[in-house]
């Protein structure tokens, strides 16, 4: 083994250690959630978290299903709305404008990415909700949550997609242009497929952000713990559940709130597992395809 390889091996071990730290944070947090949920799971039993008549912990009712539905509806809605818009913005910045305009768009996205949830929530509560209330009271609803969340995750998806699109080799684009393909055809058949892995990463990050968003959601979704019967109905997400009640909850109630946190973690793990399976089957999983 020569010096080069030894150096490389050492680098690799060092890097592996770092990555291990990153991975163990997740394990640590999930373990913490589990630990804090145990008292409630023990006293109440896991089944009741699915079958109790409602969520009223002070009175002994612990059904989390309405909140699970709330989280899913709001997250899926936000991603469905934001992903196409974000990818379109990224494509726009890379292929349809140049120079100053392109830079401006990127600055806008970067700034949007750093606006605190509180500001989005405030804007949502004071501007969006009254506007929605005129169409369908009370205004704080699934729709408000979807719109605000989509706004929050759009920059992340757009910026990561932009990086991926920027990596499409010039040669391919020029070749396609030489063959007489129109701009949209080039984007559709060359750029997007090549950048697919990066775009998916962006969408996954955005979905994660949407799943975990707390502050803004609490301010605009109405927080009523019931399964929504329309887009104008109020809804409560798992994150809002914890945020609303944790500060004033004691003992059993507190532990039950950790259970809803655990459910969210399980949901996320499930989502990631599904994406992992899909990525495996299509061979698009990051890492270089030919590691030298």
């Amino acid at each position: 083994m020569n010096a080069t390889t030894r150096l490389d091996r050492r680098l690799e071990s060092f890097l592996r250690m770092n990555a291990a730290v990153a991975g163990s944070i997740t394990i640590g947090i999930v373990a913490y959630l589990l630990l804090e949920s145990l008292p409630a799971l023990h006293a109440v039993g896991p089944l009741r978290f699915l079958t109790d008549p409602s969520w009223n912990p002070v009175h002994g009712a612990y059904n989390v299903v309405p909140m699970v539905v709330g989280t899913l509806v709001v997250t899926v809605g936000a991603v469905l709305l934001a992903a196409p818009l974000a990818v379109a913005s990224a494509v726009f910045g890379r292929f349809y404008v140049r120079g100053a305009l392109s830079k401006l768009q990127r600055r806008v996205l970067e700034t949007l990415a750093g606006v605190p949830s509180v500001v989005y929530g405030l804007w949502g509560l004071m501007v969006l909700v009254p506007a929605l209330a005129r169409i369908g009271p009370p205004g704080q609803s699934v729709l408000a949550g979807v719109l605000v969340l989509a706004l929050m995750i759009l920059p992340t998806i757009a910026l990561v997609s932009d990086t991926a699109l920027g990596a499409v080799p010039e040669i391919h684009l020029r070749g396609a242009a030489a063959a007489g393909l129109s701009r949209w055809a080039i984007v559709r058949s060359i750029a997007l497929p090549t950048a697919r892995s990066g775009i998916l990463t962006g969408i996954l990050l955005g979905t994660g952000r949407a799943l975990g968003e707390t502050m803004a959601v609490v301010m605009v979704t109405g927080n009523v713990a019931q399964i929504p019967d329309g887009v104008f109905a109020p809804v409560r997400t798992l994150t809002a559940n914890i945020a609303l009640e944790m500060a004033y909850a004691t003992d059993a109630h507190r532990s039950a709130l950790f259970v809803s946190g655990l459910v969210l973690a399980l949901l996320t793990i499930g989502l990631v597992a599904v994406v992992d399976r899909i990525a495996q089957s299509t061979g698009q999983d990051g890492g270089r395809t030919g590691v030298v």
Binding site: T4, L11, E12, L15, R16, A19, T26, I29, P84, L85, S89, V91, F92, G93, Y96, R98, R107, E110, T111, G114, V115, P116, S117, V118, L122, W123, M126, V160, A164, G166, A167, E170, R174, S182, R183, W184, G198, T201, G202, L204, L205, G208, G212, T214, L238, T239, M246, A265, L267, T268, V272, D276, Q280, G283, D285, G286, G287, R288, G290, V291
Partner: protein, 300 residues
């Protein structure tokens, strides 16, 4: 020298013919413009709203004085200092850790390697956990178990946990974006992987790394719940990293949601935060560009 595909101009008749002759091209064109305008439009809407509520409270005093009357008057100077310190701790921990992990994921693990998959998936799960859970975990682990108490250190470390997934995944995407040719050429020349990564790959991926940094900073500045439980609520000018200090986002939340009559100052503080964000982003971009140039490579 790499060339950027310069989008054709409207004045090029050949291009114009191509656009107009294929209807789905024109539709796509329209769609792209609408999407961008919609996004920029909402941003302007929010900005105008924040400006209209907060501009009247903007002044030099805001940036230099301490809060008075529960924050309804005075300024946010100690809070700005605390915020920058928390950000610094967060980045100091997350950057090296994140960069190393991203390099590992991108360069050292095959697509199907179990270890790489595990780390990548754990990061994806981490990205989806609610900020309040990070706050509770940070409180239990950093404040309690490690005995750091309510402090800027606890806050920064907790934030680092939150920022890590975004940082790692976007840097990884940036590294992937660098063409494989560099790897091949390096190997042909007999360079070690370490040299390849340090002198070629990282500089080449610099713009994307900058994006990762910016997303990370953005996430960190935007975080409220996690910091409330870890770095705390105290408005005093911090004397050390072990002191409790209120972050700007926490202050905005407090003024808007806890202190009656605090709305105006909340919006003004939000404007300052946006300014801070723009400043940080510009700093990050310039630093990365400077570093990239120092390596003698300028790409794209």
């Amino acid at each position: 020298m790499w060339f950027r595909l310069r989008p054709s101009s409207w004045f090029d008749p050949a291009w114009r013919w191509r656009v107009l002759s294929a209807p789905h091209d024109a539709v796509a064109h329209l769609a792209m413009w609408s999407a961008s305008l919609a996004v920029t439009g909402v941003f302007v809407w929010i900005l105008i709203d924040v400006l209209s509520h907060g501009a009247s409270h903007l002044s030099l005093e805001l940036l230099t004085a301490a809060p008075a009357d529960a924050g309804r008057q005075g300024g946010i100077a100690p809070i700005l200092v605390s915020t920058v310190l928390i950000l610094a701790v967060c980045m100091a921990v997350a950057m090296p850790l994140g960069l190393c992990s991203a390099v590992l994921l991108s360069e050292f693990s095959r697509s199907t390697s179990g270890y790489g998959r595990f780390v990548r998936r754990s990061l994806d799960v981490l990205a989806g956990l609610p900020s309040i859970v990070f706050g509770l975990f940070g409180y239990a682990f950093f404040c309690h178990a490690l005995g750091l108490g309510f402090s800027i250190l606890s806050g920064g470390l907790t934030l680092a946990c939150m920022v890590l997934p975004v940082l790692i995944r976007s840097v990884e995407a940036a590294l992937q974006a660098v063409p494989d040719d560099i790897q091949t050429a390096s190997a042909a020349l007999g360079l070690s992987k370490t040299t390849t990564i340090r002198s070629l790959l990282l500089p080449a991926a610099a713009p994307g790394i900058a994006v990762g940094l910016i997303l990370g900073i953005g996430r960190a500045l935007a975080e409220t719940a996690a910091l409330l439980f870890t770095s705390g609520y105290v408005v005093r000018m911090p004397g050390s990293l072990f002191d409790s200090g209120r972050a700007l986002s926490v202050h905005i939340y407090d003024l808007a949601m806890n202190v009656p009559g605090g709305d105006g100052m909340a919006y003004a503080s939000a404007l300052v935060l946006l300014g801070l964000l723009l400043g940080m982003n510009a700093l990050a971009t310039t630093l990365v560009q400077r570093w990239q140039k120092s390596k003698g490579l300028v790409f794209g």
